[in-house]
Amino acid sequence: MLFNSYGFLFVFLPLVLGVYWSLRPGDGRKWVLLLSSYVFYGVWSWKFAALMLATTSVDYFTAQWLHRSATPRGKRGWLVVSMVSNLGVLAAFKYFDFFARSVNAVAGEPLVGLLDLTLPIGISFYTFESMSYTIDVYRGRVQVLHRFLDYAHFVTMFPRLVAGPIVRYIDLEQQLKDAKPKLEAAVVVEALQFFVFGLLKKVVIADPIATKLVDPLFAQHGELGLVPAWTAALGYTAQLYFDFSGYSDMAMGLGLLVGLRLPRNFNLPYRASSISDFWRRWHISLSTWLRDYLYIPLGGNRHGTARTYLNLFLTMLLGGLWHGANWTFVVWGALHGAALMVDHATQARPKLPAGLGRLLTLLVVVVGWVVFRAESVGQAWTVYRGMLGLTGVDAAFARAHMPMLAFLGVALALSVAPDTSDVKLPVRRVVAVLMALAFAIAITRMSVPSPFLYFQF
């Protein structure tokens, strides 16, 4: 079910919230959240809902057994079981065919058969959440959850199930214990602001840029001139930010409506002064997950300069692969890994003027988004050739698309303006009227189904 669908907005959400808040804090609410999340997910596929139940069960039981193990070796063994099962599911559904195709391409013959499995939506998100729970139980950072309901309702809660933020149990532990008896009006006001702003970002900004500029340009067969190539790159830069941060805003709003404050996932990433700074601002829940569960366990910066660089590069390479099984994501991860290495190598040197630093960072990010969006490395190269001016200028494109280019300019300006989390609107009637009208406009724009970009990961 999509947040930006009439079924979700007018049927599912009112029904779930109505039942949820009519109950006292406790198991009743957890059951409502758990069952509604399975309905929310099962609308896409009941088979995948069953898979989610299976992986949830495996992690619940391995965490139990890990907790009960008396020896470090036993604990480590159960942790390995959890990791192998989670990564095994990811490998089978997401990476096996990529591996098989790559091997077959190198061999020039079909050596490895394909599984041809459909990728379950949101699998990368809930798998990472599950893994963080068992790792944190292993590290003694969180207490093991003894009841299946407590664990399952945390892993599956619908506001952030399919595209994050990647919430760790440790982030919500206290909030889940201190459940509010009733929903306060002031919290609903805040939740509405998050939800409406998020929906506006998606359906009023990201979707038109996608359908009018980005998708047709990336679908164009053949060369792109300088102007259309930069339009495609900058268009996707804006589209991805407003699509994903819009989803995250909506998730935060929905979280508030079920009494939970989810962590912030974006903090003006296009204002970043360096690539390291960018990763402190973009998809924060993923970058901190990668830092805590990959980069630091790999050794972080504790084993000398060369090893630090290698760890940075590997972390970003695997972070790229997390997004999808395609060489485009490998190249994207490698690009960011290399940029982080350069960033670390030059940290001791005098800093660039702030504006120049931001511009250079944005340039690296935009260049990266091209290969991230492209269907293949070859297609990305076509766009890069255009961006370098190797295939002409095509100024006529600008003349023919002036209104949309102006719209894109406004969108890019908005992408560096204060974000939803930074905006505190006064609680006044005039604001309520404007928000309601904006919401009504956004609702009319929901008529064309449009999945969020990060659903594919």
Partner: protein
């Protein structure tokens, strides 16, 4: 009262009023003929009510062309020459699998069992797995009544959702603005046998000024295929019902996968999964051919399949008259049913 409560009450009242006003406007103006309401003249031409009317008195029609707008250029006159049967083109805009069945059932009721041949133009996206039925179906109640109950409910839900759609709201306002203006000259019209004429384009072709532009359809088809990952099992089941009903009536069905211009195909191929979808459809059609001896199918997605000219189109999706003639010839043995 608590300011937050006052805020929420105002928000709810304004939002409810705005949505109700938009829904009422769209219901009353009904620019796309989604609803039975006919208070104002529709802005667009709706083919489902037209075809319902044509099929209500089709006694004596022996050959029927069913499909989407991409099959509207198949000439009933040519089909009549090929089969010796009186022919009618009953294709409707954006036909999905459920439309095939509705049209067949209207013909069964209206033609009194005279139909012996059906030419079925199958668009790949007629089996879209995430796109619902066309909301315009509910604007033609007799047509809507031919659908299986789940499809009827889905189309009613689709039309209800459209009450709040941005595009329809814009067109409703446009309709109101145009109330005082004379009706614009239609860009297309049907002959009595359902054959489509693109009035403006045909005039341009006659005076040599026609210029093929595929860009509009490239964009339209990219958005039409958005979210299309697998063939819909539900819609494949509807096609099966279609074949069961034609088999029981002794009607021969010649299907073909409708062509697209190479530019549109290239754009679709640049998206993940298009070729897989096409292969999946061909495999399904091959299975159905084996199961239903009265059914043959022919993949005419690419012009080379029927010997058409690469630019034998009016735009990126609608074949011109010469290509349509080649397609029909192909279906009736000139190029053989063996093409799969």
């Amino acid at each position: 009262m608590d300011p937050a409560r006052r805020y929420l009450r105002t928000f709810a009242v304004v939002l409810g009023t705005a949505l109700l006003a938009i829904a009422l406007l769209n219901w009353a103006v009904n620019p796309y003929s989604y609803y039975p309401s006919a208070w104002l003249r529709p802005l667009t031409w709706s083919t489902r009510p037209l075809r319902t009317e044509a099929l209500s008195g089709c006694r004596g029609v022996g050959a029927l062309i069913i499909g989407s707008s991409r099959s509207m250029k198949l000439a009933p006159a040519q089909l009549q020459r090929l089969t010796g049967l009186r022919a009618l083109n009953a294709s409707v805009d954006s036909a999905m699998a459920e439309d095939f069945l509705a049209l067949l059932r209207l013909a069964r009721a209206g033609c009194g069992g005279s139909v012996k041949e059906v030419v079925l133009g199958i668009d790949l996206e007629a089996f879209h797995d995430t796109q619902g039925p066309d909301g315009r179906i509910t604007g033609a109640p007799a047509y809507w009544a031919q659908l299986p109950l789940p499809e009827r409910l889905r189309s009613a839900a689709a039309a209800t959702e459209k009450l709040l759609a941005w595009e329809q709201t814009v067109q409703s306002l446009r309709s109101l603005r145009m109330l005082r203006e004379p009706l614009p000259t239609p860009t297309s019209r049907f002959d009595d046998d359902g054959f489509l004429h693109y009035v403006a384009w045909e005039a341009q072709k006659a005076d040599g000024t026609f210029k093929l532009d595929t860009s509009g359809q490239v964009q339209a088809y990219l958005s039409r295929f958005a979210g299309f990952k697998h063939l819909s099992h539900r819609r494949l089941a509807v096609l099966r019902t279609f074949l069961e009903e034609t088999a029981s009536d002794g009607v021969r069905v010649r299907g073909f996968v409708t062509p697209l211009h190479a530019d549109v195909l290239a754009a679709l191929r640049s998206q993940r999964g298009f070729d897989a979808l096409r292969s999946e459809l061909n495999a399904q059609l091959a299975d159905l051919q084996r199961e239903f001896p009265h059914f043959t199918a022919f993949d005419a997605s690419e012009v080379s399949a029927y010997g058409g000219a690469p630019d034998g189109f009016w735009d990126g999706a609608h074949v011109d008259d010469e290509s349509s003639a080649l397609l029909l010839d192909g279906l009736y043995g000139r190029r053989g049913d063996a093409v799969q």
